[in-house]
Amino acid sequence: VTDLIVPVRLYALVANYKVRKFDEFRRWSPRYSLMLNPEYQSTAEPPPSIYDDVDVKSFEGVHLQWELPEALTAGHIDPGSGESLFPLVPNRWLVVRYAQPGSAMKAAGWVIESDYLEFHDADGDEGTTLYLNPLGGEPPKLDYLGRARALADGAWTEPRSRPLFLTAVGTGLPAYAAFASYQQNVFAFQDTLQDLRDGTSHPPDTTLSYAVVGWYSKDGDDILVRAREIPGLLPPEADPDDLREVIDALGWSAPTGTPATGVCSRYYGTALGVRWEREGDHPESDRPLADGVDVAVGHSTAEAAALLVGEKYRSRRAGELMRALYLGDPDALDGPDGEKEIDELMRRSWFRGHEAGYGWRVVNRPADSADSQPPPPVQPDWVPTLNQHQAEYARELAALIDDQWRLWRVWWMSRLNPKWHHPKNPDYVYDTAKWNAEIAAARSAVSSGLTRVEAALAKIPHGDTPEEMQEAIDAYAEGKHLAVELELKRSPEPAYHVPSDPVLVFSGLGNNDPLTRDGALPCRLGDGLLAEITIGTATHRPGASPLQPPHTAQLPVSCTRLIAELELLDTAVRQNALQPIVEDPDGMSGGPWPEYTRVWKQPWLPMYLQWEAVHCATPYRVGAAEHWTFNGDRYEWSGNGAESGSGLGGRRWTVFEGRSYLTPAFNYVAAEQAKRLAQTAGSELASGLRALAGTLGDDPLLSQTLDGLHDWLLQQDGAAHSVTAPEILPLADETNHNPDGCGQRAQRRFQPVRGGQFYLRNLLIVDRFGRILRKVSGNDSQAAHFDPKRAESVKPDEDLYPNVPGPQRMFQLPPRLLHHTRLNFDAAAIGGWVLFNKFDETLMVYAPDGTALGELRVVLKPGGAREIAWNPLPPSRYDDPADFTGLYPYASGFASGLLGREHGDFTALVKTIDQTLARIGDPSPVEDRSPVRLAGRPVALVRAQIGFEPHGRTLTDPSWDEMPAPAAGSYPDWLWTVRLGDDDLLADGLIGYYCADSPGGTTRYDRMHAVSPAVTGNPYVPPIGTGATLRLPAKASVVHEVTLLACPHTAVIATTDIMPVRRMELDADVTHAAMARIRASFRLNPLLAPERFDGPVPTATGWDQRGDNTPSRALDGGRETYYQSHTAPKPGESWFTVDLGEVRPVAAVDLWLGRDGSDYPSDSVLLQASDDGTEWRELVRSSQRQTEVHHRLDAPLPARYARLGYLNTQTYGVRIRSFQVTTEPSHRSIVMPRPAAWHGDWSWAEPSSAGWTELPILAADSLTHPDDPAPVARAGYLQLEPKGDRR
């Protein structure tokens, strides 16, 4: 067997007299006894205010702690159970100490049995740390973990063979692997040095060197063997039997010569040159003075860290760049909306998402090449049904989760000891009957909810694993006979949001350890260790018989070799020669250099942040009065409504204390982002980015959220408690929160809508050994001097009370819904199109499909008044916008709203459109080249819905005084502003919107709220301003419907401050197809021009007809008239045929079928063409239901006939509104000077008895045309139609 030597970091804290006496420590132990004791039911970890005193006597000595390699501390999710699992870790550790207390060197040794369980293993010794026996089954049993055996007391042999259980997280406390106080005689050891006393009362001053060597007591549990069980660790192509590949997957580097099998892992670390002076000075460490630590506070890490970076480099720009880098898009800063975009990204980071279920769609299976991807398929009828079932499941699940929380809350509280938890107020009465009734009701609700969820789940594809899920999807699709080229896809719905807890970022904390290792961990082999070192001119090599502790014979064979290496390095320590060797190992040593070898320094390893935040609520609303005002960008506090009480300044204060881990996450993320960007950057920039990534590890910023602040405001406690009791588990399920009933009434603070200010009364940094740095402490007057950097978003708008002490340390929490909520802002439909024709000074209005409806222009009325009038545009016959209210209500509303208004309103509107479009960036260059742009840019009339959708039921107050069945509060009725559009953002497409006075009301088209009105004071175009016209409660049932006037290519922004900014974009396929049909019309009156005609008139025949809806009506050019058959067509027998009179080159056939709009579309159409009426060529065969068929031939097809039939048997007679066969060239034309045809085709349209007559333009020439009729004065429109694709 070959030993693989894996390096570990070994820290040694010297606790001499001054350290014990003058350093402050915060060490604590888990409270499993209290947690399991029904009398107390406390949290597993004590709150920050409860801790162990560091005993001056017993703490003396050297405290060792070793840090497990990352591969052993990384968890993974078990795909079967969904639980987090961690790998087993080495459970035996040899600690060796070299000392020279007098003239002779001494070696001492201890074996740490990390997983010794005092009660379970029962061999007489006491264990060290209270633990929950993982081998004892349920309910959890207390035990004591870990022991140390001094080798001086006798030989150590492996004492037992039972299953291993120890992992880096111990009983599940994440800090287990790092906090020394949890780990005594597990991964930490206190050397009291008492064995060095030689007749003296205290250990003498001396220099010490330590080594630890770790191993698994069972080779079969070695990580090298068990790693194959970790899902996803080994690459698919890796051979799990080749341990070199396993080593590589663990992030370790296997040295040359490592065999593929028969390798065991050993773990080794040293602490060299530990200076022990009992009465000596405080050893120097990296712990800074409190004044040298800067603190920044913001709503996200990026926001707070940018302040410190800006401060460090004395450049706000530097801070912004780092913020942009952290958020992942520094290039955005150079874009036209740069700062705005980064700002939006940052604001997004103020929130965290919450899964919101799924939606289903049928999509094309990915094609081999992107070019051959067909258009998106029409959704089968069963897809909406499936989505309804999915939504039903999501609803039922949300209700069940609410009911489970309701049950857990009332059940948990009912079992709390009244002595400790109920308000000690004479007026408080615990009504047992009421509580029991509520528990019974909640049980019943959960039971029926479980049944409903199960029933809902059965209707949708589902599975526990990704593989099962895909199988279920495939089976479902197969059951629906989905075509093979299509697939059923599930995609997540937009997430719900809640605000993230505020973040503190620190600089100057004196910790330079990166979050994760960059590069593989260099391992060595047991027979390939350090071969020599150079001290002065002498070369030293490891001795064959190093000085060893007694009784090492039973230890792994590598121990002796590693002790020999310790001896070699200790030789350098004692000659003050280690530092140069550490600095130049290649030059001054031979053989593989042991990673992490360095000269000892007193460790300072910041790990925890502990805080005490004092909070005063400044509610959004009190009674009917709102105390926060939306300024269009964020909410501002008016200075009123702060809660009154008998606390400082006459305010009511509550205290939130907590503890969580500090991480250098900011530097890590920024460095990783830099590396990512470097992969695609140019060489110069890439090298700069890589250099930046390399330096980001220097003096990293440590950050931490004030974890649990928002839970605390909801009176929920997320700290670890005992597991859910089996009697309630099947109903309540596992929960990670407990209600806080606030027996101390003065601490009641239930705030489902956050709003307040706080300051930090206590802020401590605690290191791995429990040593602390006080940044803020003491009473209020001391804490008042705290001067943090504050992001703008946390600076209070007003002081909580006059002359508040230390206003610079106050932080504002603007109003936020703590209820998971999302802002829905979706386009319900394109309501039409509007184009401002600059040449004609008209507003042209189009139907949703791009067909012209009419134009609005200012006309002079009798009497001299100028007002807005309406003219239909070809092919429309609508003489009044009211005529198409039923078909196109939003276009009609828009046009009707303008009709009859004054000239000034028209000017204000068109100028506003024009100016806003000039600001909006147009990201669609294809459509930008459209000839319609000669006249102007089409803008869309979009019907959109806006609403807040909370997830689940209204949150309720769990205070004892409200329980067991608390009433729902009023916060769901509170109104929030939604401001649409952003004048400062080029990437916002909104021009303005029309809305009702209140949600659910009738949309008012007599004013357009404009993002940026071009004319001030015009009543038709008022500014959106702060957006106060759109106010909504956070209720799913309340929706504001608005009609937007917007650029079709650019998203419309909705800003609320209480949610991330929401963007609404139109489906590009839909807009593109509609815009391709938009024709620009230029009014020409009078035009003196003759018409030239030289061909037969097309005729049509059907199989029968109803009433006077003759076949010829399908050829009259209008879509309001139609051919209607009396009987249903029979497939292969009933044809509607158009005869062109002669064979002509047919370029296109356009059909409008069924009723206008989407009702009664025809299906299964078959379109054919023929030159002789006998042989037919198929043009279109479609089984899709549709109201329009537009078929373009790649090359004109010679044909005289075109006919339409149906593939399926129809139930009723059918309707054909228009059957248009386009030939090139046409026979009729108008003779006039033809405009340039660079951008499209020009035609002439003029009113006729049938509606409109549209004629091609024949260029006038200088020849004589005696057959031409006499020219007549015409009034009509020159029309410009785009070339190319007209989908």
Binding site: E24, S29, R31, Y32, S33, L34, N37, Y40, S42, P46, P47, S49, I50, Y51, D52, D53, D55, S58, E126, L130, L142, Y144, W420, H421, H422, P423, K424, N425, E612, V614, C616, E643, S644, G645, S646, G647, R651, R652, W653, T654, V655, G743, Q744, R745, A746, Q747, R761, N762, S777, G778, N779, D780, S781, Q782
Partner: protein, 145 residues
Amino acid sequence: VSVLVPYRVRSAVAEEAGFHRLVVTMGGEFPGPAAAVQCDEVVVRVPYATPAGNGEPVGYRVKTTPVTGRTRGRHWEVAVFLNDLAGLSVACVPAATATFDGSWDITVTVDVDRPLGGTTEIRERTHEGDGVFAPRSVNRGVEAP
């Protein structure tokens, strides 16, 4: 019923400004001849000079000297309860039954950020010899320094 465990209640200067300290030592030498006392809970109620008002949060720190050993209760766990506006209660519970025999003690240091007043109520669950655990209590004023 009077308590079996010896207690000392002293005041001291807290490290943090604005805090008031009470030091309670449990155990130590018995004032007279006594058998060993088995103990599985001690609750110390520290009264405030004036009850906390609405919106006057009580800040506290509680530290205990670490003890080890089977006869000393292995280790002691502490919980603090604030549901009484007139004083806070510190519950000290050994992980195993502790035997006070005069040879050892445990000290609980309570810092509170408001003035303290009145007598400290100490409740214990103890027994001597082969007896059964029973609640006992005593009120103690602060000893002279």
